[in-house]
């Protein structure tokens, strides 16, 4: 294995773009990443796309093929990876592996998504019986995704005394961070009172404590050390890059399951914790070395729970850290300086790539308006359907 470096990053702003096909979003993001790397389409030696089941990809998740056929028929390997909402992180890991193994010198990873309005329809061919958990959660009890997150939230309130105001404060922080980020969709400040006055969706979670869905696209270009040196500037190494799946006995309420077989000792959200631990081990760093974390904040609860699960500080300490301003952009442990899912809205398969782009801009000192002072080492963490987790650590 050889070291892998970041050559370029690019993203389309997040929002709703009814007149722009998914493929166009992908081309905009990827074109931007190539320009950022000082490369042309013909320089690409491999392309990995996060497979979406919502739009594009010829209905088979062939999004990388579609991009190449649209803009550069250069015969390079195309790889399309699934992973639900973690597909973007998995795409980055695949691109990483293609370079680390020596197969290619320049590979891009891309995720682009346009989200449907309302509830995501069930995929064609799904079984309508007890073998399909998604079917079961709907017909037996109508458990929406927020219902799962709300039960985790209620449990945290019970175990750690987390208050409604603290949850609201976590959302306020994300909206404040996003004010300085032109890529974010929701860039208006809000107060604890605003959050608590927003409609109750799934008790105790309010509308402003749950991420919306958006359209968006992001791309990253990775390369060998020789390629990175040729581009010039400061080298940025992909120091850790790992994917993982869930572990037996995980106590989390995992969407869309209707039960968990709980075994003591298995970490909560083990797919993401597993990926984070592997990424840290690869990078040879510990939680104390992380200058910023970009994580999947589907709700305000995630912002409190995940940093604890990753060992950034002790379990139950998030509420205090948040109140002290330690999770702020200029705090000791900045979480989602980008504004996170709560300010972007989730463009599912693009999200894991966008996280890595944000790390790139932060470590370069280019995150104008939301720059973490002196950031040298950043980590991402994302979760996807099917118990998929991915985590990337960049360092300069």
């Amino acid at each position: 294995m050889r070291p892998v470096y970041v050559l370029g990053a690019g993203a389309h702003p997040w929002g709703k773009f009814p007149n722009k096909p998914q493929l166009q979003l992908a081309l905009d993001a990827l074109g931007g990443a190539l320009r950022d790397a000082g490369l042309a389409w013909r320089d690409l030696q491999g392309l990995v796309a996060a497979s979406s089941r919502l739009e594009g990809g010829m209905g088979w998740g062939l999004h990388a093929n579609e991009i190449l056929q649209a803009v550069a028929e250069n015969g390079i390997p195309a790889s399309n990876v699934g992973g639900g909402c973690a597909a973007g992180g998995i795409a980055v890991q695949s691109a990483y592996s293609m370079i680390a193994s020596g197969q290619c010198d320049i590979v891009a990873a891309v995720g682009a998504e346009r989200m449907p309005k309302g509830f995501i329809p069930r995929p064609p061919g799904s079984a309508s019986d007890i073998t399909d958990n998604d079917y079961l959660r709907w017909v037996t009890m109508g458990a929406t995704n927020p219902a799962y997150w709300a039960m985790e939230t209620r449990r945290r309130m019970h175990e750690h005394g987390t208050t409604a105001e603290t949850l609201a404060q976590a959302s306020v922080l994300m909206h404040r961070n996003a004010m300085g980020n032109p890529l974010a969709r929701y860039r208006k400040a809000c107060s604890v009172a605003d959050v608590l006055a927003s409609p109750m969706v799934s008790d105790p979670l309010h509308l402003l404590e749950i991420c919306a869905v958006s359209d968006g696209a992001a791309a990253i270009v990775l390369g060998s050390e020789a390629q990175a040196r040729q581009r010039g500037g400061q080298l940025m190494e992909v120091a850790g890059c790992a994917i993982a799946t869930g572990q037996f006995g995980d106590p989390s309420l995992r969407i869309p399951n209707v039960s968990s077989a709980v075994h003591t000792g298995t970490p909560h959200t083990s797919e993401v914790v597993g990926a984070v631990r592997r990424a840290m081990a690869m990078a040879g760093v510990g939680p104390q070395d992380i200058d910023l974390l970009e994580m999947a904040d589907n709700t305000a609860w995630h912002l409190l729970a995940w940093p604890e699960l990753f060992g950034l500080y002790e379990v139950g300490q998030s509420d205090w850290m948040l109140a002290q301003g330690e999770l702020d952009i200029d705090g000791r442990c900045p979480i989602n300086p980008s504004g996170g899912f709560l300010s972007f809205g989730e463009a599912t398969t693009a999200q894991g790539v966008l996280q890595v782009c944000e790390l790139v801009w932060q470590l370069r000192g280019q995150a104008q308006g939301h720059q973490v002072p002196g950031a040298r080492l950043g980590m991402s963490a994302v979760l996807g359907l099917g118990a998929n987790g991915a985590s990337v650590i960049l360092k300069t």
Binding site: F119, T140, P146, M151, S202, V258
Partner: protein, 147 residues
């Protein structure tokens, strides 16, 4: 036309009604793990034999957590006279946490740790007038309360 026939929301999920209601799960006779609903195999990676059998799960448990859904779920979920309702995660003695609708009490009286028991209730009547039923959990009636 209404008939007296009862229809579960999904076959093979539960059986019986009232105090005879039981969830149908899977027990691994090799390692002792339990699953709900029935599973194709034991999921314990340390378990080598993975010998499984159908099992009726305990009908009593405690409330691990809960929520009240204020928005109507997508159309696959049907419920006559929809109104916000509670969903809970219930800890069973088998080491399983099972999610289900909560019934038989005001959502404001729900408390983590409270004793619950399984029941079966009608969600709606289908086009043929058959009562379509699901499993739910309700506060457990203790012996003192009965006396």
């Amino acid at each position: 036309m209404h008939t007296d026939e009862l229809l579960p929301v999904a076959a093979g999920l539960f059986e019986g009604t009232g105090s005879a209601a039981r969830l149908i799960g899977t027990r691994c006779t090799s390692c002792g793990s339990h699953y709900f609903p029935k599973s194709l195999s034991c999921r314990n990676p340390q378990c080598l034999e993975k010998a499984i059998q159908d099992v009726r799960l305990s009908r009593e448990g405690t409330l691990y957590s809960y929520t009240v859904q204020h928005y109507q779920p997508p159309a696959l979920f049907r419920m006559a006279d929809w109104a916000p309702y509670a969903i809970g995660s219930v800890e069973l003695p088998e080491g399983l946490r099972v999610m289900g609708m909560l019934t038989g009490c005001d959502p404001t009286s729900l408390q983590i740790g409270m004793a619950l028991e399984l029941t079966v209730e009608t969600l709606y009547r289908d086009a043929q007038g058959q009562a379509v039923q699901t499993y739910k959990f309700q506060p457990r009636v203790t012996q003192e309360q009965t006396a």
